[in-house]
Amino acid sequence: MKHVFVIAFLVLSVLSVVTAMLRPDPQSEHPVLYWVTNPQETRHRQARAFVDWIDRTHGLQVDFRIDSDNDDLRKKIIQGVSGVAGDLIDFRSGDHIHFAHAVGMIEDVTESARAKGFPADKTYEAAIPEFVFEGRQYGFPAGSFIHMYWINEAVFEQYDLPLPRERMTLEEFEELGRKFVERANPPGARQERFFLFGSGTFIANALRRGLGGDVFNETLTAATLDSEESVESMEIIHRWTHDYGIMPSAADMASFAAEQQGDAHVAIPLFARGQFALLLWGRSAVTYFRPLGLDTGLSVMEPPNVGFPNTSMGVRMVTIYKKTPNRELAEYFLQYLMSEDYNRIIAEEGEDMPPDPAHARTDAFLHPPDHPNEWGAHDTFARAAEEIAIGEPFSPFVLPGTVHRIWSRAFSEIMSDRRSIHEALGIATDRINAEIASAIAHPDNEHLLERYNRALEDQQRIDDLLARGEPVPLSLIRNPYYQRYYLYTGQAYDDGAES
């Protein structure tokens, strides 16, 4: 037994040494910078461009490495709090960025952003709530995305239907949708073609906002998911799904995507072959369309207008890990995101909106030479990003991830007919408000309580002014949606002060 043990020990030791020797050399003659991002080929092009750019503009040699193995929120957080995360970390939603910020693992870059030329106001206004908290900037967008409805023009021709206009009323949209469903699906057979595919929660958010409501109130101190607007928006989604067949149900989606239930990427090939006439997606959908060889006419429309035209904007964000030993180099990367080199890649590759809005007006963005079928789409994205896109409402009193989970749960309960719309939204509202109450009552959160109390006073003033029919000073409003909505309806005025 002893011999067996010794032999096993020796074999394992030798194998350990061999494994260590086979690993990529962690040493480099240049400073090594790790970028935790998603595994896309275009990231490598962006990384190579950065190495050239920093050499050309700053005379620095960098060994820039992509880490796509750890591109998962839980891994990022756990590695972050363990002190071993990459120097630069991507986050692909405001929920994730806010979580990382709440943990405290991402660097405040406000001053260096001003010094190096990538302050928040250089990018889209609607993107700012995603990465600026209490006036401090935590990173810079590598790209911003807005949700619009892609139109497969060939499908409308096939069924002899008029193309949707860029902006349509709810009634027009529903009428066209019902006609499409009727013509595209033989009577008596299982419905296989739908008018619209998209994340139900996103569609509901846009409808709610169009009707005049939002997830939170004006000061982000309370959830308002049980508002009349919210109820009405869910009634519309429910009707589209279960009565009109405009949108696929969960069962339909499970059929389309048994391997990845609910995974929107399944929708791309289905859209390309005409099973969905419209697809809710950002501009980056073209990065999936192009490899599929989709060369039919493509255009884009806004979410149906129920009173206030709007769509949501999110960001793919690059942040700097607080414990990075290469902070200066990491800041150069954020600076690079505003550069001509980087923005040109974004425009050419068909990724989301470039960090520098000026590049959304270049010919490379609007008229990609190899893809004339897309030319009708990019300009609409560029205009929508500036005119109707609005940032998400992030309450400082509750984690956005928690809000998202509660809201998604309510959505699922409604769509599976588990609860009535009123009941599900009422429960969700109570739960979010209970989370807020719990957060501000926490003894470690005294600063939050003070902030909450100030916001409550402002909310009282807003409610009083609205009740009297007087306009509200913009500085009192913290929810980006209400800032835009009240200006649109004339219920607010810009008093020039900061909110």
Binding site: I78, S82, G104, A251, A254, S255, R405, P443, D444
Partner: protein
Amino acid sequence: MSVSASKKRRALISGLAFLTPNIICVGLFTIFPVFFSIGMAFTNWDLTQHNMFKDVPLRFVGFDNFVELFRNLYFWQYLGNTLFLMIGIPFAMAGSLGAALLLNQNARSILRRGGLLLLATVGLTGACLLLVTLGMAASATVILVVSVAVAVLMTGTVGGSMVYRTLFYMPHFTAGVATFLLWKKMYDPLTGPINQALNPVLSGLEPMVLAAPDRTFSWLAIALVLVIGWLAMSWIGKMRGECADGDLGPAAFVLCVLLLLAPLLFLGFRAMPRYLWFPLSVGAVLITLFHAGRFLWSERMRARGPWEGAGGALLLTGGLLTLSLILFGLSLVSHHLPAMAAEGLDPPRWLVAYHWAKPALMIMAFWGAIGSNNMLLYLAALSNVPQDLMEAADIDGAGAIQKFWYVTWPQLAPTTFFILTMSVIIGLQGGFEMARAMTEGGPAGATTTLSYYIYSEGFETGRLGYASAVAWIMFIMVFSITIVNWKFGSRYVND
């Protein structure tokens, strides 16, 4: 003497040297985290507040996490989900035992007789031909099924039991996620093979139901309820007889009666019309009281301990309860069938429908359990059943069922007890992988189990203290049930 002591010491040192790495790892990665998590459960540890980037001190919050937990409605829903999924345990055990009994036969000798093989092949091929004729299944599927069936039978004939044992055990060594994805495809509500097979059946059933005379299915529903009542009363009567014989203690009797009747009466109250529920309930209670009264007057009752025979009685009561619940479900389906048929009978939407998601997971778990380690344990136990007992039973003229019930089943008691204990523990802790891969805990939390809840609270919201509290509540449940199992199960085994 000193040489011997020296040898012992060297053996001890050598043994410890071998064990030390393992002891260190177990201590570091198992025992320490377990005790550490007890402490965590009583703190407000939140990843967003307490980490290397912040100097917010960790606070002791006493039982706050537990109080919050018990106030949280979703915790109760997820606990309910976990317990609901555990209803499948008796079926899984029965499936494992059934598979083990089949695999314990000498397949080669049976199959060489030819009759069974011929019968099975003819039956299967006939069924497949019928399906093809009626256009009820894609011919490719039929060919596949026939090919696999013939291949299985042929290889079984050549290779004997070992081939079947390997095939049955296959689910256990197939990667979990791959299996889950396969089942997800099978459960596809519109194009999956399960619903493809159910569709024509339901289409055929629909006109039959509608053509049936008025109230036929209501009477069938009532008949099923009466069958449940008859089964329950028969079992209570049988237990009373065992009490009279001194084989069952009074406390065990009362517990079994409560375990059997309380859920049935509650469900009946929820689902049945009052005019039906009331007389049935009163009847059940009166009959139960009658039996209780009879054995309370019995002289022999005093001669036995209160928990005598509890293990076996509880196990069988649990099995009967499960059967009763299924019959009750069938009764409800029968009652509502005409109305459902009028609207058109559709197959279940399985994973995407709130009320079907859990049964869908249970069916899959049942399939996995048949060919699991439990089957191997039963196989091993079956090989240990003394042949002389079987021969004695043969001499006494016992049939196959009698031999199983009076010889094999008691001999399997220790294994059954072990499997039950482990299944309950695994059941309480389980469900995470399935839910994560197939439903993400949905729809509307229908498949979120306690283990999934721990994961989401710990790693999605960062509330480590709260997640630890959930974990410890789960541990307390596992521990309590295991203690009960040991207390009653050991008696059952020794009986």
